[in-house]
Symmetry: C2
Subunit: 661 residues, 2 copies
């Protein structure tokens, strides 16, 4: 589930375009290459042998998968490549009207979801998705980073792990009730098997003898950047599935004959669900991207776009193999199309608040022996790689098992330790929601750290855009939620959480590194529920939290200044505490704009609004925040779409604020 | 986890007292009986053979467990009795300084938690808990319905299922890090094994070779009221545990020699965690309470207090066996003490909104074939027993597997059905929190029904008092949350959810049946975000939702009227939608009191407050709601404790409202 590359061409102004492509005889080292629709048509109709055809198609799809990920600037190569052969076979040779409209159509979906680029690439090759979507991965109105049913031929929304088999159960029960005959094929990851819901769902499927459910485990031996065995070993997975009542086959997930045989066997089993454990290779198809499990060494092609050099090398290897194969089949070789390389504008001196947080935590841990760091397979996104390297005896990798991690933290806190628990905000606050509450009722101190919070990065899509976490944990008693807007505030926050706050803390972090237009007051210190003015103003107060909101608030204030409106920008990092005395000072402003990197319902703006009413402050109030499910796209596009860019904020601020004459 | 008996002597005025006991030579059929401290001392010191001693102690504890449950009016007999022998052996013969203060003390806790009466009874017998607590089960400042660390010798908070092994993992890792040697013993239920977190936690424990963790599965073959095998069969549990890397023993959980041998064997295993599958009998010790698994027949002694007749019969059987055993051991027989039977005042003509809801749903389902009802082992508390009986082909029992249920509902909705999903509010909105959100992003209609919402019944304690669910799911897009305050409104609500609302709905129900002082207007119909005035008034508006709040608001208005203050009582059943035009009408009141059967943070009162600020209504605002973890106790005590009784509401309403002169 990791999301490594948060650089975003669009956030910095998006000077590139993804339109326009020109035919190139020889590939250029500063352009991207893709397989055209005509080449796919030629290959699909020209090769008679199904296995040979699937082999060539799969590698051609890999070329386009790489192209999509390079266009997007992010995406999961390793897991897309390990699953490509399987889906190519299923969709071209096996499934009946997959995800189609006929009564007995088969259903296919990936529960892990982050292999979406591979499926998109295949659907484009099969002309089930429009070819114009090829450069639109993770773009607004394009192809979401994780699957969404708004895309044709996508059966269900995934991206948060472990839900797939339960969904298949629902689909199969519905088919049984309505008299449909379609089968339900579910791809899962292997790291995904660490999620408890997988095991919660297996037995009910077997008890109901839902033999129309076929699960394929893409067993590529890696999760995020590390070997599954090093993170949280799975044990004997074949035996496990068998004991949960499933028919099991295991074999090479890159050998179409093996896959064919397993599927044929499954057709003979009518009283059990079935699972094929596919032994696969992460990054399969590009030799230097192949994951070879050796201890906890890092795998480098999980989530980000590759370097241009690696991209070119990979594409050359793939097209060379394709053409060798075509040659051996007596078919003519194919050429790739080219498209310009997107230009990315990196921020100049970005604040990296997650790393600053991790650094400050490590500094404290050197002297405070009670600090234990826990992680759910996202350490590099949580700023705790250095902690693990320096204090491995106090680092606990829990794998993709958020519930277990949070309850285990509760157990540690009861024994006098101070656990600091990490995951993406979207998973931590929701998958382990009840567990955080259970811990809170024991009144022992725990620090929860949720990264990747908010709308951006906008590429991964709504499963990862955590815009509901303030609401989800805001009412947990004794848990104070805080989002820093700078490295300085991030350091203050974790120090306050460890040293000052007697209760538990939830720290919410935006991961996108950006250049900040503001700086914190030199003598700034934290006071629960009180905001800090980053920019003075008199007409309107724009109040928010975190780097993205406050940067855009600042830029909006610049715009407003040009209109003669003096806007204050106020950082209120406290997400579920507000100091009524401080609120009363807001009465100085005729108009208050609240910003939420979150749904409007039960976000910070509602807390501020209620406090204004409670304290009798009579200022006009204009809340900005999400009113609908977040769009997927470049950071700038997504922020603009939801009115949280500078222009959107300025517009609302102006709507009720009198211009000085 | 079911909670059957919501009648509450305290809610109706609590005329009884639990103090005062008198020695009775012969037991009286209208009094309660208990085992005195002296008898326990006599037995503990008088019987030399450990097995014989444990047998007698266990049955004496059962007598006191029954006494406690009769005093409380509710509590889990079946599961307490099936586990009594095991804990008696552990705590009297095996554990080292259990839950004590020494460095290498063993830890014991029950993950299922609802067997708490058995443990309390034993701790009282062992004089680890003060004897005065015996009549204080589920009473304020007494013994919570589910375990809480505020009680001496309680190691961790449980009551929501599946967390125990993860907690043990945290404790054992902490012990390893800090150099302590104590072992961690965890009791689980068997139905509890349906929770995915159990399986999520097993492999990490084995991977870490945490051989100090010993799990005992109280395999009594029943969950709530039905056989586990009928709800969601567990499959070969010994093999499953083995495949997850555990050392397994299985045997009679009521045979102390078997238990002793298993524990002795476990001491020889130093590289694995261990599990003892204890074959037990639900209700063990009282012959007519023994659960005998036969299909899905109902077991009658899961959660409520027994009838007086059954109570007397059960106690007689237990004391007779004890005295026979003492006699055969050459010990003198013991007599029981007696205490008066608590008097319970039942409401006269209570509204049963959950049953009304279920009835209306069933009526619609007779013609709407797309309605499917799903349940997580709480059907009788969710008003859907009649549905199951009449439309079994459209009733899906998921077992204690809330995540699976909700994701499966998502799968069914994608196939065109309308799932109506049931559990207690506390579990549904938190354990399946991310799953509800995932479904919401697919924009298919699903109806979620959470019962047992709010502070009362106050007996089960904070694991079951759902006072955080509005916050937890309030920001789910396209999910409208609603709590009815009468049978009429409950019927309107489910009909609106099925027939009118194009989106998804969360229905929140208080389960306690009470006499309502108000009635809904005859022409009442639902309008999203708009309240309905139940009682006219001019000085202050008291706004809330649900039967408990509005009944107490009404009674507060009666009190206020005596003070010359005219209070309106307004039902706003919409928990995360508010209509700004309607809000403006509140400007007619100088003072507005909002009531939350929920934490103040991110409850309805905050939504109302923000709406007042946004719309420019200048009324004074006084929110009432929870500021701390809910107290456990009788309904009346708990409501008063949190200021949500009539007196508490009247006091706040008066604080800012001018008395008419």
């Amino acid at each position: 589930m990791g999301e490594k590359d948060f650089s975003d061409r669009a956030l910095a102004g998006d000077p590139s375009t993804s339109s326009g492509s020109s035919r190139a005889e020889s590939r250029d080292d500063d352009s991207l290459s893709f397989v055209s629709r005509d080449v796919f048509r030629e290959v699909r109709s020209g090769i008679a042998d199904p296995v040979a055809r699937a082999e060539v198609l799969a590698d051609l799809c890999r070329i386009n998968t790489l192209f999509m990920i390079m266009q997007a600037g992010s995406g999961h190569i390793g897991s897309s490549f390990s699953s490509t052969d399987i889906i190519t076979w299923l969709w071209t040779e096996y499934l009946r009207d997959p995800n189609g409209g006929s009564k007995d159509a088969d259903v296919y979906f990936s529960s892990k979801g982050h292999d979406a680029p591979a499926l998109y690439s295949l659907l484009i090759a099969l002309e089930k998705l429009d070819f114009s979507l090829l450069p639109k991965l993770r773009q607004l109105n394009g192809l979401p980073g994780h699957p969404d049913v708004s895309t044709p031929y996508i059966a269900t929304n995934t991206g948060s792990l472990g839900m797939g088999i339960s969904k298949a159960y629902g689909m199969a029960r519905a088919n049984r009730y309505t008299g449909r005959k379609g089968r339900v094929f579910v791809m899962t990851g292997d790291g995904e098997l660490q999620e408890g819901q997988i095991w919660e769902s297996l037995q009910p499927v077997a008890n109901e003898k839902l033999s129309d459910i076929i699960v394929i485990v893409d067993h590529n031996k890696f999760q995020s950047d590390t070997a599954v065995a090093a993170v949280s070993d799975l044990g004997p997975i074949e035996d496990k599935f068998r004991d949960f009542g499933w028919e099991v086959r295991r074999g090479d997930g890159h050998d179409f004959n093996v896959l064919r045989d397993a599927l044929a066997h499954f057709e003979t089993v009518t009283d059990k669900p079935k699972v094929f454990i596919a032994d696969t290779i992460k990054g399969k198809g590009v030799s230097f991207m192949h994951g070879v499990a050796c201890g906890d060494q890092t795998y480098h092609f999980h989530a980000g776009a590759p370097s241009l050099e690696n991209y070119v090398k990979a594409t050359r290897e793939l097209i060379a193999r394709v053409n060798d194969r075509l040659d051996s089949l007596g078919q003519r070789k194919v050429a790739l199309e080219s498209a310009p390389l997107p230009v990315r504008l990196a921020p100049k001196a970005p604040e990296k608040i997650v790393l600053a947080y991790g650094d400050e935590l490590l500094a404290m841990a050197r002297t405070r022996k009670d600090i234990i760091v826990m992680d759910a397979d996202l350490l590099s996104d949580c700023g705790i790689e250095a902690f693990k390297a320096e204090l491995p005896e106090r680092f606990i990798e829990c794998g993709i098992a958020e519930m277990h991690m949070v309850s285990a933290a509760g157990g540690m806190a009861l024994r006098g330790l101070l656990p600091v628990v990490h995951s993406f905000a979207c998973f931590l606050t929701t998958r382990a929601n009840e567990h955080i509450y259970n811990n809170a009722t024991e009144k022992k101190k725990i620090i929860y750290v949720g990264t990747l919070a908010g709308l951006v990065p906008g590429g991964p899509g709504h499963s990862h855009q955590s815009v509901r976490d303030i609401s989800a944990i805001g009412a947990v008693p004794g848990l104070i939620a805080f989002e820093p807007c700078s490295e300085k505030e991030a350091r203050l926050a974790i120090r306050w959480a460890v040293e000052k706050n007697p209760d538990s803390t939830y720290l919410r972090f935006v991961n996108v590194p950006i250049d900040l237009p503001y700086s914190m007051p030199a003598d700034y210190s934290l006071h629960v529920g009180r905001g800090v003015t980053l920019r003075n103003g008199t007409d309107v107060a724009i109040i928010g939290y975190g780097t993205i909101l406050l940067t855009n608030a600042w830029k909006a204030a610049d715009e407003l200044a040009k209109q003669g409106i003096s806007a204050a920008v106020i950082d209120l990092p406290w997400l579920n505490r507000i100091d009524d005395e401080w609120v009363k000072t807001l009465g100085a402003f005729g108009h208050i704009v609240t910003l939420d990197n979150h749904y409007l319902e039960y976000g910070q703006g509602v807390m501020i609004g209620a406090a204004l009413a409670r304290t009798g402050v009579r200022s006009q109030l204009s809340p900005i925040g999400l009113k609908e499910i977040p769009a997927c796209g470049s950071n700038a596009d997504v922020l603009a779409y939801h009115g949280l860019d500078a222009a959107g904020i300025a517009k609302v601020a102006m709507s009720r604020t009198a211009v000085k004459s």
